[in-house]
């Protein structure tokens, strides 16, 4: 067993454990911390895949900014223990099997997808481990218009959040 494979399995177990903890935790703050665990282990997985810019963005934007926002709102609203309500009969007998069926179905498709044709047609911009330069070239040349559109999106989201969260006079 090679070292990257061991690292992958450790990180995969960490990510799945974090996701399970998110489901099982009663306190929202514990769920938030479990989600941070998932995001950090995914960031290391991105490093393993040779996408170090995405890994850095994952840590800075997701595990940093977005989760700090979540924790801030949890603290602000004083969100305490979640009260367990009984789930309806339909949810028990239809929802749970369908949820697991969806998971098995996605896993089945992924497992049986043969990547040989995809590997062979490696068209487009090839990238090696040091891909931040290529990524920035692609982002600011080929994908310049979507990039600028995202900045408009961020501006609109900023205005929307301000309008929604401000107190009515």
């Amino acid at each position: 067993m090679s070292l990257p494979l061991i690292l992958f399995f450790v990180l995969a177990v960490m990510a799945v454990a974090g996701a399970l903890l998110l489901i099982l935790a009663r306190e929202p703050i514990h769920s938030a911390l479990a989600l941070v665990l998932v995001m950090v282990s995914l960031a290391v997985l991105y490093l393993l895949l040779g996408a170090e810019f995405i890994a850095a963005v994952q840590i800075i934007v997701y595990a940093g900014a977005v989760m700090v926002l979540f924790v801030f709102v949890i603290m602000l609203l004083n969100a305490g223990t979640e009260d367990r309500t009984h789930i309806s009969k339909i949810a028990t007998w239809v929802g749970i099997p369908l949820g697991f069926f969806l998971m098995i179905e996605i896993a089945h498709i992924f497992w049986h997808a043969r990547m040989t044709s995809a590997m062979a047609s490696g068209a487009g911009v090839p990238y090696d481990a040091a891909s931040t330069h290529d990524l920035s070239m692609a982002l600011f040349q080929q994908y310049l218009f979507p990039f600028e559109a995202t900045s408009i999106l961020i501006l609109i989201a900023l205005l929307g959040a301000l309008v929604l969260a401000k107190k009515d006079e």
Partner: protein
């Protein structure tokens, strides 16, 4: 070299757990966090495909997904604060005006 299907399996498991969390949690903030979990699972699949096809487009896509998720988190949490101020609760079962 780790087979690409391992990453895709992990992505599928995380996405499924996100769906389960979305369906089962009752706190509106936790439901919102499970959406973020699903977005992260999809991002992992994107990066894995970008690696296997040796194309950069998947990484650019992940970049845009992260940006949209950040914007969504800002607006969604503002909505949650407004709901909490108006309804005095975070339980989705008590916010049921549109429920059939």
């Amino acid at each position: 070299m780790i087979p690409i299907s391992y990453y895709l399996m992990l992505s599928a498991i995380l996405f499924g757990l996100g769906v389960v969390a979305f369906a089962f949690k009752r706190n509106i903030i936790t439901i919102f966090m499970s959406i973020e979990l699903m977005l992260n699972a999809v991002n992992l699949a994107f990066v894995a495909f970008a690696r296997s096809r040796n194309q950069l487009d998947g990484l650019v896509f992940v970049f845009f997904v992260i940006v949209v998720a950040a914007a969504e988190a800002a607006v969604g949490l503002a909505i949650i604060i407004t709901i909490a101020h108006n309804r005095r609760t975070l339980n989705v079962e008590q916010v049921n005006l549109l429920k059939f």
